[in-house]
Amino acid sequence: MTAFVDARDPSAPRILRGSVCIVGAGAAGITLARALAKTRPGVLLIESGGLEIDGATQMLFAGHQLGQRYFELTSCRLRYFGGTTNHWSGFCRANDPIDYEPRPALGLPGWPIGHEDLAPYIEAAGASLGITAAAFDPAAVVRGRGLDPDQLVERHGTHLMTKIFELAPDIRLGQIFRDEIATAPGVTPVLNLSVTKIALDPTGTRVDHLEARTLSGVAHRIEAEDYVLCAHAIENARLMLASDDVIPQGVGNAHDLVGRYFSDHAHVEASRFIPSERFPALYDFDAARRRRLNANLSFTDDFLREQGLLQYYCRFTPVYVSPEAEAARGRLKADLLAPADRQLFADIAAVMAELDGTRRWRQTRRSGFRPPPVYLLDHRIEQAPNRDSRVVLSQRRDALGSRIADLDWRVSDADIDTIARGQRAIGRELAALGYGRIEEEEITRPLVEARVEGHYHHIGTLRMADRPEEGVVDRWQKVHGVANLHVGGSAVFPSAGYSGPTMMIIAMSLRLAERLGGRA
């Protein structure tokens, strides 16, 4: 029986030795440690933070934004036990078959592994999160949530398709597996210890050891047979770039790929949709959410191929009463009693103008769904892999003396094109079904740059490919050219695909665990 080792503790060993050293205890690292504990005891699970969030540790993430504004880098990922699952929302979905295909016109390199390779691991990953396989059959899910499966657009002969995200119940992996990790005989979990360098042997083809430090300034050395970086997409790349004493470009970076092709599932709110009475409740974001359902309108794989579109889906956010009219109604009583001003008349007019929406909302609440007067559209895409969207090692240093990773996030023309043509196609298909009409805003680069946000899905930077010229890790997530260094997490995804990445990360960690445990 082991327990958590606090590296700041003076009695903690300064040299840690084990079979496999896992850097980072998030979705990837915890999954790997749990699995390897049984097959390859002596696992070291090294976590930079403690069991709770800590400001000074989070500050090791404090990079600058060099390109398109991304999320705040100190809060969009978490550096303590459980990692970023500590603020994960829990949306799960596997990649679609098309996501593994190469589509050169869009810059999609294809995955060296396919749907069949991952399917059993995805099922196991889903199960570990409390999701059953049936959760990904739209008809079964829709029926289970009290809606008529005949609402599914794919039953009406269009290019549209329903894609469902399942909300996992068991998502705080740090809390769920804390005791298991603390008591597993095969794992030594170490807290408050940040790896600062991958020390290669003189040939540059093997990791000799890792250097690590505590924020209190104590240096440690970690020795293992195999090393797996599960520290987050940006941080994994940072560690490899910053370890540049043996190979000047950094570990695994012979082809200048480390840190590149960073992407997320980008989304942009634009355009409105005026529904007819036939618009199905299934695709109304709020109506579906009240049934714990997240169903999105997307395209069939054939349509994506034929049109040369990236993965795209559209969320329909109902607006029964505009926030302005809502606020006006709230002010009416005060308007009548307060010193008089023109606000009263403006507010009465605002409320009167949206009486129809108010009535529809009441009917929806009382006697079943009626579409709102208008939907706001939220367009969501996978980003085309872009070499210039990347992690950049700065010359600034963090509290441990390590160079800080900045982020240069980019939105490409292909991304903008998919949003523009995706919204047009959605509008056309829904109009043909008699579901309403779209009022399009023109999708331009300035509009996208002003509104685009991500999904906290940090993807790419160490992508997987069979050839070292095309990717940093091979199909087994081993770094090309380094015998005993592997990478876990969404850093290795060659493309974002349609998935919610966490379940995919867990699935790929289960697969990697079989490899490192000698079973695959």
């Binding site: 400001g55 010193p339 009263l344």
Partner: protein, 224 residues
């Protein structure tokens, strides 16, 4: 740091105006008993004028004001008992001026109060803060009192530091003895570790004007 928008504190002297509206009509009846019609008409006009001024300055609300004027008009026009009726020419005068008293102020009404009385610049600042607060949302609830990785920020300005129920604060904040004023929130949101060593909070460096926008947004939430 740029100046932060503070809630406009316009007092509403509602009660005196309401009393005025309630008390004056009976006084009018009493006056009428001993007064000439000319005096009565003058009183009616001055009542309208007083109410108009009152209304423009810090009126009792358009509802009460309109009722008071209509009551005064009705008193001297059709609705009043025969003993209070005015002769035809005076009736016209009261009708014209009374209607004017009702209508004229509407054309010179101030445009609105808080929040719409805030300048467009303040509103733009709040809107920008709402957008920038994306940086806070992964860890903090802003529109509910739910604690996440960090404590809820709903109503944080004006709250005593380290007192959001149910959140396990760092030692520094748990033992803090101050109230979150806009300036304090701004400096914490700029460099939390310098202000409270050992805090759980972290932020990337951010320009002061962005912090000011976020604080303006937090403040606007506190006012709702």
């Amino acid at each position: 740091m740029t100046a932060l928008p503070l809630p406009s504190a316009r007092p509403l002297p509602r009660l005196p105006a309401v009393l005025l509206a309630l008390v004056l009509p009976p006084v009018a009846v009493w006056l009428r008993r001993g007064a000439t019609r000319t005096a009565w008409a003058l009183w009616a006009l001055s009542l309208a004028a007083v109410l108009t001024l009152r209304f423009l300055a810090a009126g009792p609300g358009i509802l009460l004001w309109a009722l008071a004027v209509l009551a005064a008009l009705g008193l001297v026009l059709r609705a009043a008992p025969p003993a209070l009726q005015l002769a035809a020419p005076w009736r016209s005068v009261v009708a014209v001026f009374g209607t004017a008293a009702l209508v004229l102020p509407l054309s010179v009404l101030p445009p609105g109060r808080t929040p719409s009385a805030s300048s467009p610049a303040d509103l733009a600042l709040v809107a920008r803060g709402n957008h920038l607060a994306e940086a806070c949302r992964p860890c903090h609830a802003l529109s509910s009192d739910e604690n996440r990785v960090g404590p809820s920020l709903l109503g944080v300005i004006g709250r005593k530091a380290g007192t959001m129920p149910g959140f396990a604060y760092s030692e520094g904040l748990a033992s803090a003895d101050f109230v979150w004023e806009p300036e304090l929130i701004a400096s914490f949101a700029t460099d939390p570790l310098t202000m409270i060593p050992g805090t759980k909070m972290a932020v990337s460096p951010r320009p002061d004007d962005e912090t000011a926008a976020i604080v303006a947004y937090l403040l606007s939430l506190a006012q709702k």
